[in-house]
Symmetry: D2
Subunit: 288 residues, 4 copies
């Protein structure tokens, strides 16, 4: 397919490589043009509008503000040449997803939400798990792109915002798992048990899953840089989860604890470390 | 080996079957004698003292009070015939573990702590994960028993109480995982997403581990009975974790939330349901 | 002074009465005109612009959205006749306060923030406590209005947003006091102690202050309607406090608990009750 | 009356002085005899048994362990000469209060619970607020003592443990008020507002009560020593409140937050400071 990709952060770059490998013709655009350096087999275009055209456009931007700035304030939906469909893959708020659904409908541009689970290296390997929601016929058209990007597409119905809600729920559970490990590690150390030994046991038995193994190893090694999933980004995502929980009237005490813990971490200068650095907050609380 | 087992709850019964299958000669005792009904190949004895003798004695009792009642108040350590070693496998407090270590030392009875991870069916299959701590030479003597009971023994040094701390840390993480799923499920439902679909996605990808798969399936199906791990027992264990965290000076905000949520569940009559019923608290908080 | 008042909710109406009694010439405007019914001695004007003129304009609106809609989106700062100063008395976010400060400065309209503590009847009696921040010379010009509205003006420096931060801190402490009473009441009832007796003791001794006496009496009597300070409004204010705490990098675990408790209350249909109805959440959590 | 007082901590010493001034004949005993130094008009006795006799005995000890050690393990209830009544004034657990009620009944010694609100100087001035529960005829006999010690006696029925529950509820609310001020202070400082100014406003208006004024002034001044109410003692009391809340099936999220915050403070070496030092935890969490 002929696809434009807007947003070349670490995730976006990885995804572009998978699309090229999958045989798609890829145009790319990023606010900072140098982000495209070293990407082979793509056409670098010089405006967002030039990317937002063709068979499909993919957006993979950092947050609500960035996506709103490009799509809404940038007026892309009012431009003459528009894409066959817009595959919105950023992790954004439920509220913005609802707003974008409405304005795309008014503009006559098919819109589906397809946020992903996986780190940049997973994106580069085309092995993401993709959560998708929207009109099934539009999803069907986008399927070649989804196949290039991920190992599996998980459908969540026809309302795009539900895919975003699922993504936020997943990130909440991921950060909760890290906090639980951080508290357990501080608890163990407080009783003279090496946290590495504790996490070795638990992440190879009851919790033998990618999230626990990956972040558990980081906590065990005290290795918080470079960030795979940055702590400040985690705070943003918990903020989105809390906003969406308020919208739905669902109290989430764990998410509330996570917000306070993440703020604590950022206020102590760890915002650019990996989410695993949440364990430093647990340790600090215990006076270590 | 010639081993006496004190405590024939669901876990104890499963363990006895594995010991028999492993070729050990097993005497059993339980406060309520009928608990031994249907156990083949064992000798039922009529006092705790008759079980607390031989090559080794294993205790697998419900809580601190039960273990204290049998061992300390029952005066077993002062009796004439005492076992070659005491393998203490119950989930008990760090404080009681420390106390038992001291009084066994005074009484000259080798004492090792060996709490386990695994449900009753896992005990019956001899597939437990066993956390062990104590004098290495004593652990070596107990190894044939540990081999019959579990697939793997995880050593945590020479201080018995550390094995108990590890067990409490593990149960804390397990209950935290269930709470996180419960909150995420309520969040999803609040946005029109079936919690079964959400949990199917997450427990087959990021969280593809035994704990998440097992409890996730229960939450997805709304199936809370019969209990694998009872909610009231979970409240007891979080109480032990909090007591030990206070002793070590380690704040644990997630554990604090869990205590309140578990009390909420018990106060609504769900104490005898499975821990997965924590999800009912999340749902109730959101007005469902 | 010649003053325009925008916003005639229950607080705004009370304030207008105090201004009239203080000898000021008062123009009033409200989105729904009927809100001015029964207000004596005022001139009802038919556009926000007609109120936003004269010696001073006072805004007393429900939330950020309402204030933003009137002032920013309504384009009042670009209109020809503008007031001598804008006295911004609504409870709004720190972020909006900062934004308004900047755009008033660009527009050349003196802007001071003056949020208040006190219920509608206190507003009507001119007995509010007024928190004020902004240019001292502008505050001096507004003093006759402040004197008509309150018993005391509390200055908090020259940056308007700081008055809003103080207001949010005060409302946070108020709602925290109610939650503490609610939990204590449920605790007492759980031990067979009438919560009315407990609160009678505590609000007449250690906690003999207006907030505790007022809300304590409501909880003791189980009297949650009509609302003095509505629960849904309280949720809005805790949301503003949390947003501002995130902006300043300050974790606030009590505020996080309050948010979850307030959402729980609203999700159970108590959003239009008084904040004292937080006590119903504590009771429900305990299975009553 | 002829009264024996067991326990001469700072509270006990103050109470003894009020009893002497009230014309009572006072025998005193303390584990460490030097605690009686400088107390005029009292008879120092050399065993707890010599104090636990006469018209009445008052116990005012530090915690459950101290009271249990003296009364239960000390065997005082089995001794020959026993007091006309036992006025139990320590802050103890609901569970111990229930146990003591039962064993006094078996021993035939009238037992009433009478914990107090007030700092040592208030005790010395005979101005305590006394919470009392037990057999009304026994309370009537003790009234001259209660009148010497306090300005007011607050009756809470015939079950002694209920007075202890009320005391724990009061201390919970007190510590919650301090935490709320600490969080609000950190929030204010985060927005450039001096916490002293914030607390001056709030403790002279909405929160003009003894608790807020006293602890608010300490926080505003950053004055945490000497302790009026020590932080480690506060942690003990929240522990008792949580234990009692569990017993009654009442979730108390604020109390859970307080426990973690108090542990954090103690783990950072502030256990011997005043409870107002909770504000240091809020400040630390925000990176200050």
């Amino acid at each position: 397919m002929d696809v434009g990709v807007i947003g070349l952060g670490r995730m976006g770059r990885g995804m572009v490589q998978s699309l090229v490998r999958g045989g798609h013709r890829v145009r790319v655009w990023n606010r900072t043009a140098s982000a495209a350096d070293g990407l082979d087999g793509v056409t670098v275009v010089h405006s967002a509008a030039d990317a937002f055209t063709g068979d499909a456009a993919i957006t993979m931007l950092a947050d609500d503000a960035a996506l709103r700035s490009v799509i809404v304030e940038g007026g892309l939906l009012d431009s003459g040449t528009r894409p066959g469909l817009h595959l919105s893959m950023s992790t954004i708020s439920v509220a913005l997803a609802q707003e974008l659904t409405a304005i795309h409908e008014r503009a006559g541009v098919p819109y589906i939400a397809a946020p992903v689970f996986g780190r940049p290296d997973v994106a580069q390997n085309g092995a993401l798990n993709i959560v998708v929601a929207g009109d099934p016929s539009v999803i069907a058209k986008a399927q070649p792109l989804l196949d290039a990007l991920g190992t599996k597409t998980w459908p969540f119905g026809t309302q795009p915002y539900r895919a975003n809600a699922v993504k936020l729920a997943g990130n909440f559970m991921l950060i909760a798992a890290i906090e639980a490990m951080g508290e357990a590690a501080a608890f163990a150390e407080g009783h003279g048990v090496a946290s590495a030994d504790l996490l070795d046991l638990l992440t190879n038995t009851l919790f033998a899953s990618p999230v626990y193994k990956g972040y558990g190893a980081s906590i065990a090694a005290g290795r918080y840089e470079p960030p795979g999933f940055g702590l400040r980004l985690g705070l943003k995502d918990i903020g989105l989860a809390l906003a969406a929980s308020g919208q739905a009237g669902v109290p989430m005490p764990f998410a509330s604890v996570l917000r306070d813990t993440l703020i604590d971490a950022v206020s102590h200068g760890d915002g650019d470390k990996d989410l695993a650095a949440l364990a430093l907050v647990s340790a600090r609380r215990s006076g270590r």
